[in-house]
């Protein structure tokens, strides 16, 4: 151990949970008040020395580090990148920057301010970086946020930075800390070392550790570790535990071969995707009729034995349908879409892959059929039966047939139900079909459904919505109009914005009216949220990430049952005025200009809520919870 020579610094705190049984988060905080201070390393056994050593490493890392946005000098460290096709060496690596190190020798190639980047993920290059690093590298030690997965025997499974195999010693150190505490019939949750927090999550034989100096609350970091674990379960199921029962020294890395990119993209999404802490999903804004048409298509598919059918655009839901009584947890949706979007091979051709939904059933695989319609829009059909894929595959064949033969599609569209005969005839050119056969019936069902999808232009509407974006704070209606006169389409809302009186106001303030910069509205009943599009002054990925971190903090403090539950919170600092409002039905998080007036801010929040209600049919998937249409 490179660090074991250092003596433990005295200001570290070991926060023990005296109860070995895992408790809900709210309890942990109160219990954590039992704070033990290690007086010195000499009094303890070897493990304590190692623990102390690790603490010192962290202490050393603190130097010269500050959370990105507050220091204008925080640079875009764009060191080595993955093998991606991203050509420009000057583009920012959104996440890398802030969580990465600030000043490093090869800084020269990457300092470009990110202002103007529309999406924080736009410049992010997938894949693992800095594989050449290990715990002896200064650059590795300076990284702001590390994630590790290791086995209970101390074998590395995943590390965000550096080569896992080279980190065997470091992993063993982490394992030693955990087992030291476990030997005392206790469980380690958190170690604070100066600005650093070391958060531990123990899941049977799998240990997850986050070392971070990003000032995120403990609950957030722990939630991120939970998601990381969920992502692993999604790939392997919980039956992985059995491998460890058979062989405690089991090496899991070969089983996770090729999944680095899945984990790194999830970790990146902690910075830009509010779903990671809101535990809710978001929908692509669409006209109510369009979403219904998409839902009807999926329903037809679901009726033919699919457990879940999802049509998604990036990480936003277009529509989703589940079989009777089956419901999909927002965290599972997040992990699933992250898995699909980060695995390039899904884009190359239609695929069939086993996946596990940790919140649905962590012990069993489902089978996912994935097909991309265009660069961003994809269909996922999940079934419990591996055989079902042969039906699904055939469904897809029909889609190709239609795409390649517009005449047929036209024919089908115009003749309605009589299309089936046409289709059967058409398809007979290729293969004899028996219309009584159930496969053929499924096939025809799908075909008709697909035609609906095409006829209602769902796919083109999806693309249009992608281009147009969602709710913008500038478009917030100035005065609560009588509801009947409210335009219902978001796009019409936008046309309204062009009217002179609103325009005059929008140039006076920065951002939206009354200094509103951004908001997130989470509907508790629907498990969905809507986040306003980013607009100046929250324009750079760094600023966006900082805002999300502020929301994250707000979310944690609002949900801290130890001191809560709170209904409202108004918080002003040098960056923002943040206002949070929690009711039985919704949670609203809003960011304002730091000089915003409190009364005006509250009034604006009321208007935001009214606005969301007025357009809720377009921004939310209605009736998704019982999945009955």
């Amino acid at each position: 151990m490179s660090t074991s020579s250092s003596s433990p610094s005295s200001d570290e705190e070991l926060i023990f949970n005296p109860n070995p049984i895992p408790k809900p988060i709210d309890d942990e905080l109160t219990l954590a008040s039992l704070t033990l201070t290690e007086s010195n390393g000499n009094g303890s056994v070897g493990e304590s020395d190692r623990y102390g050593g690790a603490g010192v490493v962290l202490e050393a890392e603190r130097e010269g580090e500050r959370e990105g946005p507050s220091s204008p000098s925080s640079s875009g460290y764009a060191g080595e990148r993955g093998s991606s096709s991203e050509g420009t060496s000057n583009s920012r690596i959104g996440d890398e920057d802030d969580d990465g190190i600030q000043e490093v020798i090869n800084d020269h190639d990457g300092f470009v301010d990110g202002v103007g980047d529309s999406s924080p993920s736009a410049s992010w290059v997938p894949g693992k970086r800095h594989v050449d690093e290990d715990d002896a590298s200064i650059s590795w030690r300076k990284r702001k946020k590390h994630f590790f997965i290791l086995s209970h025997s101390g074998k590395p499974i995943y590390s965000r930075y550096g080569d896992e195999h080279k980190l065997a010693g470091f992993s063993a150190t982490l394992q030693a800390i955990i087992s030291f505490v476990e030997n005392g019939k206790d469980r380690i949750k958190l170690v604070r070392a100066g600005k650093h927090q070391v958060v531990f999550l123990i899941k049977g034989p799998i240990y997850l550790v986050c070392i971070s100096c990003t000032e995120e609350p403990y609950e957030s970091l722990r939630g991120q570790l939970e998601l990381l674990y969920g992502q692993m379960i999604l790939i392997l199921t919980k039956s992985i535990n059995r491998c460890f029962e058979k062989n405690p020294k089991f090496d899991m890395t070969p089983l996770l071969g090729g999944t680095d990119v899945v984990f790194s993209s999830l970790i990146h999404s902690f910075n830009w995707n509010p779903a990671t802490f809101l535990h809710a999903y978001t929908c692509l804004p669409l006209a109510y009729a369009t979403r219904q048409a998409a839902g009807a298509v999926l329903q037809d598919v679901a009726d033919s034995g699919v457990l879940f059918a999802l049509l998604m655009c990036k990480c936003k839901v277009v529509s989703l349908v589940g079989a009777q009584k089956a419901s999909l947890h927002p965290d599972d949706m997040l992990l699933l879409s992250n898995f699909v979007m980060s695995s390039e091979s899904f884009r190359t051709s239609e695929s069939f892959s086993p996946i596990c939904l940790p919140r649905y059933n962590p012990t069993a695989f489902l089978y996912a059929y994935v097909h991309y319609f265009d660069a961003d829009t994809y269909l996922m059909l999940l079934t419990t039966s591996s055989d079902a894929f042969y039906h699904l595959k055939d469904c897809r064949v029909c889609f190709i047939l239609i795409q390649r033969n517009n005449n047929l599609a036209f024919d089908v569209t115009n003749k309605g139900s009589s299309c089936v005969a046409t289709v059967v005839r058409y398809h007979s050119c290729f293969q004899p079909l028996d219309p009584a056969n159930t496969t053929v019936q499924l096939w025809i069902q799908w075909l008709v459904a697909t035609v609906v999808l095409l006829r209602s232009n769902v796919l083109s509407e999806v693309q249009r919505s992608m281009l147009e974006g969602g709710m913008r704070v500038e478009d917030l209606p100035v005065d609560p109009l009588p509801r009947s006169s409210m335009p219902h389409r978001l796009s019409q809302q936008r046309i309204l914005t062009q009217s002179p009186e609103i325009f005059s106001e929008s140039i006076v303030g920065i951002g939206g009216p009354t200094g509103l910069w951004h908001f997130i509205y989470r509907s508790i009943y629907l498990d969905q949220y809507v986040s306003s599009d980013f607009s100046p002054p929250i324009s750079s990925p760094q600023q966006q990430k900082r805002l999300y971190r502020a929301y994250q903090k707000l979310y944690c403090s609002m949900h801290d049952k130890g001191i809560g539950p709170h209904k409202t919170q108004f918080r002003r600092d040098e960056n923002y005025v943040l206002l949070c409002w929690v009711t039985q039905d919704f949670e609203l998080y809003a960011a304002f200009d730091p000089l915003a007036d409190k009364a005006v801010a509250i009034k604006t929040c009321n208007r935001v809520c009214q606005w969301v209600k007025d357009v809720e049919n377009e921004i939310f998937l209605q009736g998704a919870s019982p999945f009955s249409w």
């Binding site: 071969g257 051709s349 695929s351 055989d387 293969q431 079909l433 056969n437």
Partner: protein, 202 residues
């Protein structure tokens, strides 16, 4: 597989071998439709072989296959028959090994791929051959493919080893390069020639 088996059975008389095909409704003497599965260690170039064959493309940035991808391609033979390959390109990762039966079940053709620069992948190929002999359809057509033939200066598996192993196991052997497209079409044409033809009866 569900009910698909009944489709070919009812439609036209076909020989035993092709009855195994998934939804092989359209197979007749002139137009064959076969299920082909690719197996082999991760990183040997299975997807590259398929993409070269189906799309004529080669992408040097390796994209790890997840689960299995499905592609199809039809070729015409000189005797005016056409063969439509329904290709299951499986992921080589260890975690998917248990799922392989899902893909090779009912396959008429199995292409087992290794990398000529990696003896490990050759061992893995032999594992797949044994597995297919145990659990695959008895009349499956098997091909052993040594890929990355363009990297001959890094070769570690002599062609002779491949030839001998293939011969012993009644397989057809070829070395290919998805990068240079060398022998890719030949591989599939050769497979097509070896397919059992449905009897022209009924």
């Amino acid at each position: 597989m569900g009910c698909s088996g009944s489709v070919p059975a009812r439609s036209s008389g076909q020989s035993g071998g092709l009855n195994n095909l998934e939804n092989a409704g359209s197979s007749d003497a002139k137009n064959l439709r076969v299920k082909l599965v690719l197996l082999g260690d991760s990183g040997v170039g299975k997807s590259c072989i398929v993409l070269r064959f189906v799309r004529g493309q080669f992408d040097p940035t390796s994209k790890v296959t997840v689960g299995a991808s499905f592609l199809s391609q039809t070729i015409a033979l000189q005797d005016s028959t056409t063969v439509k390959f329904e290709i299951w390109d499986t992921a080589g990762q260890e975690r998917y090994a248990a799922l392989a039966p899902l893909y090779y079940r009912g396959a008429a053709v199995a292409v087992v791929v290794y990398d000529i620069t990696s003896p490990d992948s050759f061992n893995k190929a032999q594992y797949w051959v044994k597995e297919l002999q145990k659990h695959g359809s008895p009349d499956i057509v098997m091909a052993l493919v040594g890929n990355k033939a363009d990297l001959h200066e890094k070769r570690e598996v002599p062609a002779q080893d491949g030839i001998e192993y293939a011969e012993k196991n009644g397989m057809f052997f070829i070395e290919t390069s998805a990068k240079t497209a060398d022998n890719i079409n030949q591989l599939f044409e050769e497979i097509a020639k070896r397919l059992p033809r449905p009897s022209p009866s009924s």
